[in-house]
Amino acid sequence: MSISETIKCDLAVIGTGMAGMSAALFAANRGVSVVQIGRPKGILLASGLLDLMGVHPVQENRSWNDPWAAMDALCRDLPEHPYSRLKKEDILSAFGELLPFLHNAGLPYCRRVEQNAKIITSLGTVKTTYCVPKTMWNGVLALENQPKGLIVDFFGLKDFSAGRIVATLRERWPELRAVRVFFPGNAGGKELLAGEITAQVLETSESRMKLAQEIKPHIRDARVIGMPSICGMRNPDEVLSELEKEIGIPLFEIPTIPPSVPGLRLKEAFEVGLQAIGVRQFLQEQVLTVNRGDNSELILHLDTKGRKVVVQSQGVILASGRFMGGGLYASRRGIRETLFNLPVFQPGDRKDWHRKELLDSRGHPANQAGLETDDLFRPLNEAGRPAFETLFAAGSILAHQDWMRMKCGSGLAVSTAYASVNAFSKTKEQFK
């Protein structure tokens, strides 16, 4: 097949998860021309919460109020963790750049800069996170003060049970009640998914009024109401505050199981926002292979159906995730990196990959597998040297971290993306 399009750019970002999206943003903001490739699946599955650093040491399951203090302790105890290569100012700047971007794209977040937030999940458990969508912030406050409250769910919605939430929280928040009502347009209580279609229903004022009428008789002495996160796809905060007006007391959304509306909103916000600042995105494509060109540029071959697209870039940020994302692949014999065949740090034998219990707080050794890098986040080759001068890695593909246990997923993705972009800019200067 003949080449039908060659695109030249400064930086190619492989991956459209939290790390890839952030990298594309930071690069575009610095005037770097960016092509981004990947099917956005990871971000769709995210909860919408942005963790920074919540738990350390994991074997004690110790949860921290102050993410920065947690990070200090982590870097002391586990100097190989990617956070050890980052400075607090840089992480702050990264969030300082990301949050306004999301806000402008219609998705405001709330946080306290120096403090983690505790949020109720749809199981009624309490999770430590950092930034939460504004639509969930009332929930963070309510959990701190435990006023009389009401959790609402809907007939036909199988992934969310107000009764479960109230039951789990019984000790921590005794004055919480559950109620089940009919969702507008679903008087029959047919199966309802907490997805896009349901969320869009609440974008009309008529449905909001109907829902308010359903809920109101149950409010009684409640001062705050929690509900599944389905308050609109676009401008959810407006939708929520309109609904609050109808109902008369503060509302908050509770994250639901993926693929959830907050994940979809995040994906939308990134896609629209990044295209607006000139990032060229290939969201249906994958990178098939990469090779080095004559002038040390990297040449990416995409799997575009029908025509062939080649991207020629000076640098690449590899944000292809782990097993779910597709950046790592495990066979019975070992774990490998899928695009560059980079060496992967991993436990020696498959029998050591996972612990006997899924929920072992120490986490599974396989979770620590991934790419090892230098201080500039360049993955190392077998000889322990950067595999390519201008190849950087960001996000969950990095070794020596366990975002699921440490509650550092998005924070790690955002801040290593930031550091990779800065490192790329620096090396680019050197080439000039």
Partner: protein
């Protein structure tokens, strides 16, 4: 302080104990069946599900071979709802022992086992996934059996005839007086207290645990433990049971059942019953061996591994390893000084009915009951509820019912709310209280490809809403369920299953913070 009385107390709710309960009930003997956990918690829930034609044993155990043949034929007639008559092939590949192959039809004939020789081409026509290296093939009458349905229906029938079932009631001790067991102490986990049962006769039908139970009564029964591991594929690989044509060895049987196939097994001597999990090493060996018969097993997707333990009984006087019996053994412990105590252990799922019959004969003789065994003639009544454990049944029923409000709780295995409700109702009817675990055991929940990621949450929520789970009990049953399913996932986590496991962990730890 005896609070329960009965003619016969049966300890152990596997195929043998449940089969015995039905046999005795049909003879009018009043029984209590006490099970440590739930029905089929032991080997009966951790086996291959092969209803043997007997051919597997023709070379080394002709008694077992003939028993299997007779019992297999009988069960196909009397319990057809538990059996899929798949037929079976025995195949040999290049390198397999030619003398064994040549003798095989003769050995089958000696045990009256019907066998039909096929050319390798004919075999490949019937099962195109077989290896291209076939050198011999025979067709036999092997079949697959759903052990859960079998045991649950035995219990259901026994209960309808008056047997009392105590689940979650491990036997913890015996009170002896001279040459009798006066009462048996068991710990009722649902009531949270010890209970005493006095019985005219006590039967130890605890399979691999038979030695432990006998020891509680001060009687030595020497049991060696042989662990076997099995792998479930995500799709059905063959229509028929495939056996490797060689003396019994590792990973030489592939048994289809509903929408999946089961590959196994290994035979590993283990020192104790504490850790009966499948291991990574066993899984690798099973796949390598299995791929010699059916090469696509090398690349197939596996959704779960599990293990069971075969008790190998050592007869005291003979002592050495070769005297270990692979058939079943019934001990009348009057020879050890206890007149009302009997142990039945060993054997096969295929011969459970025969084992029950022989044991019941001995018991009835001791009790002076003259009623004959009826399980060889009376069909096993089918109940709908006990069928939900069979792979592929739930989807079929769901498609048929087509009720939009009957929301699916498990999408992989298509288990709707109504199935969970009917299981909960039947547990309640039987005097138990429904629990998350009990529903999971009786259905395909968590047994599909998502490994319980979603259905665990949905079923919990649904049962809370229905009042079938006490809201005060927290989330520990969910943790337990996930950890339990994990045992079977851990050894097969590569390729797609590792991706799913990562998602499972992202949700349950990353988001829900369930780790401990």
């Amino acid at each position: 302080m005896t609070d329960l009385e009965t003619q016969v107390l049966i300890i152990g709710g596997g195929a043998t104990g449940t089969g015995l309960a039905r046999d005795l009930a049909l003879r009018g003997v009043q029984c209590i069946l006490a099970e440590k956990m739930d029905i089929n918690a032991g080997a009966s829930g951790g086996n291959h599900g092969l209803l043997h034609s007997g051919a597997r044993y023709v070379s080394n155990d002709t008694v077992s071979a003939m028993e299997c043949r007779e019992e297999g034929e009988l069960l196909k007639r009397l319990a057809p709802q538990c059996i899929e008559e798949t037929g079976g092939l025995f195949v040999a590949v290049e390198g397999d022992d030619e003398n064994f192959i040549a003798d095989f039809p003769l050995m089958c004939a000696k045990c009256s086992i019907p066998v039909q020789e096929l050319t390798p081409e004919e075999a490949l026509d019937m099962e195109p996934v077989l290896s291209g290296n076939l050198i011999a093939a025979f067709a036999l009458e092997d079949a697959s059996v759903d052990p859960f349905r079998l045991s649950l229906e035995n219990v259901a029938h026994a209960r309808s005839l008056g047997t009392r079932l105590l689940r979650y009631a491990p036997v913890v001790g015996f009170d002896l007086k001279q040459d009798r067991i006066q009462s048996v102490r068991l710990f009722d986990k649902q009531l949270g207290k010890e209970r005493a049962v006095s019985a005219d006769l006590v039967v130890n039908a605890t399979g691999a645990w038979a030695g432990d139970i006998a020891a509680l009564a001060g009687i030595p029964v020497h049991v060696l433990y042989s662990k076997g591991t099995l792998l479930i594929t995500s799709q059905r690989i063959t229509e028929r049971v495939i056996n490797r044509l060689r003396p019994p060895s590792d990973a030489d049987i592939l048994v289809p059942g509903g929408t999946v196939s089961i590959l196994g097994t290994t035979s590993l001597r283990i020192p104790s019953l504490e850790t009966i999990g499948p291991t990574v090493e066993e899984v690798d060996r099973i796949i390598e061996e299995g791929a010699a018969m059916v090469p696509i097993l090398e690349e197939a997707r596996y959704i779960r591994a599990y293990a069971g333990v075969r008790p190998l009984v050592q007869i005291e006087s003979q002592g050495d390893d070769r005297s270990v019996s692979r058939g079943f053994t019934i001990f009348d412990h009057s020879h050890d000084g206890l007149d009302n105590f009997v142990t039945i252990t060993g054997g096969k799922l295929t011969t459970y009915r025969l084992m029950a019959e022989r044991t019941a004969d001995m018991i009835c003789h001791k009790l002076g009951v003259s009623a004959p065994c009826l399980t060889g003639t009376v069909p096993l009544p089918g109940t709908q509820v006990s069928g939900w454990s069979y792979p592929g049944l739930s989807p079929k029923e769901y498609m048929k019912s087509n009720n939009p409000e009957d929301v699916l709780l498990c999408e992989c295995e298509m288990v709707p709310k109504s199935v969970v409700d009917s299981i909960a109702a039947s547990i309640r009817e039987q005097g138990g209280s429904p629990s998350f675990e009990a529903v999971a055991l009786r259905s395909r929940l968590g047994k599909g490809s998502c490994q319980g990621t979603f259905c665990s949450i949905r079923t919990d929520a649904h049962m809370i809403d229905k009042g079938d789970i006490n809201p005060d009990q927290g989330l520990n049953h969910l943790r337990k369920f996930l950890n339990e399913r994990w045992k079977g996932q851990r050894p097969i986590l590569w390729d797609g299953q590792l991706v799913r496991a990562e998602f499972l962990e992202a949700l349950h730890c990353g988001l829900f913070d369930l780790e401990r």
